[in-house]
């Protein structure tokens, strides 16, 4: 075989999946952290009044 088959599309698909899943997971970590921060701020506002 002289020329490799053209599989560039699959190459792109593969790397999209890799980046996609990693980004989604890291984003979920960041989002959960931010939500916790919001909750903590709300709770800290309530606490001093006790």
């Amino acid at each position: 075989m002289d020329q490799p088959i053209d599989t560039v599309n699959y190459f792109i698909a593969g790397y999209s999946v890799i980046f996609g899943i990693l980004i989604i997971y890291i984003a979920s970590l960041i989002l959960r952290w931010r939500n916790l921060k919001k909750e903590e701020d709300i709770l800290k506002d309530i606490e001093p009044s006790k």
Binding site: Y10, F11, G14, I24, L29, W33
Partner: protein, 233 residues
């Protein structure tokens, strides 16, 4: 909220730099495979992700054992984090495996032992999450999760062997295989081997980085829960 430890900041930067280096290596240094073309380059991160998936689940099983012995909930958090991260990386492994297979073997799925076992492993760890969701008492949830992490992990090699014996497969024996009858096998040059090993190293560092972040998140969650309880008093 505690601020990010300095070591973690260093690890973040290191992970990022190494990841970029690995990408460069895959894209520019690793040679183009003569039969499969560009898609073969997916192989490097595909294998690295599979590797991380396996060690995640091993970490979860070991954390489970330690938890059962020590009853320290910190180990439950380690196990839970490892399962979450393992699910993500195994998913990458399985999906990229299918993407790689499609142009080479003309099918999205060939039921070969490695990918099939990885999928079953993924199902075990989804079951782990469902087990956790179904139990409200935290101490019991931690204990049961530990038990299932151990049982699940032990089943994986057995599953792999059974499927392997079951199916004289067409999945290539990748490292250095020169067997022309193994469809999809390719000759690994030393540059390819180096790229693969480096990818595995980078993904391992990425695993450690994500674990640390996930564990911190869990600890933060616990602190906020404690705050809620204090206020209810």
């Amino acid at each position: 909220m505690t601020s990010k430890p300095r070591l973690l900041k260093v690890l973040d930067i290191t992970t990022f730099i190494f990841f970029i280096l690995a990408l460069l290596m895959v894209f520019f240094i690793a040679p183009l495979e003569k039969v499969m073309g560009a898609v073969q380059k997916v192989f490097y991160f595909h294998v690295a992700a599979g590797w991380v998936g396996m060690i995640s689940f091993m970490v979860a099983a070991i954390a489970g054992i330690i938890y059962l012995v020590k009853k320290d909930s910190k180990w439950d958090l380690v196990g839970y984090s490892a399962v979450e991260i393992g699910i993500a990386f195994t998913m990458i492994n399985v999906i990229t495996g299918a993407i790689w297979a499609r142009p080479i073997w003309n099918a999205w799925w060939t039921w070969d032992p490695r990918l099939t076992t990885a999928t079953i492993m993924e199902l075990v760890y989804f079951a782990y999450l469902m087990l956790r969701q179904g139990i409200d008492d935290p101490e019991r949830r931690n204990r049961f999760s530990a038990v299932y992490a151990i049982v699940g992990f032990i089943s994986v090699p057995l599953t792999f062997f059974s499927i392997r014996i079951f199916d004289r497969t067409i999945h290539p024996v990748v490292i250095g295989s020169n067997d022309p009858s193994a469809v999809g096998a390719f000759d690994m040059t030393s540059l390819m081997l180096q790229t693969l090993l480096f990818s595995i190293l980078v993904f391992t560092i990425l695993f450690a980085d994500l674990m640390w972040h996930r564990i911190r998140l869990g600890q933060y969650m616990n602190r906020v829960d404690e705050l809620k309880l204090k206020i209810q008093d």
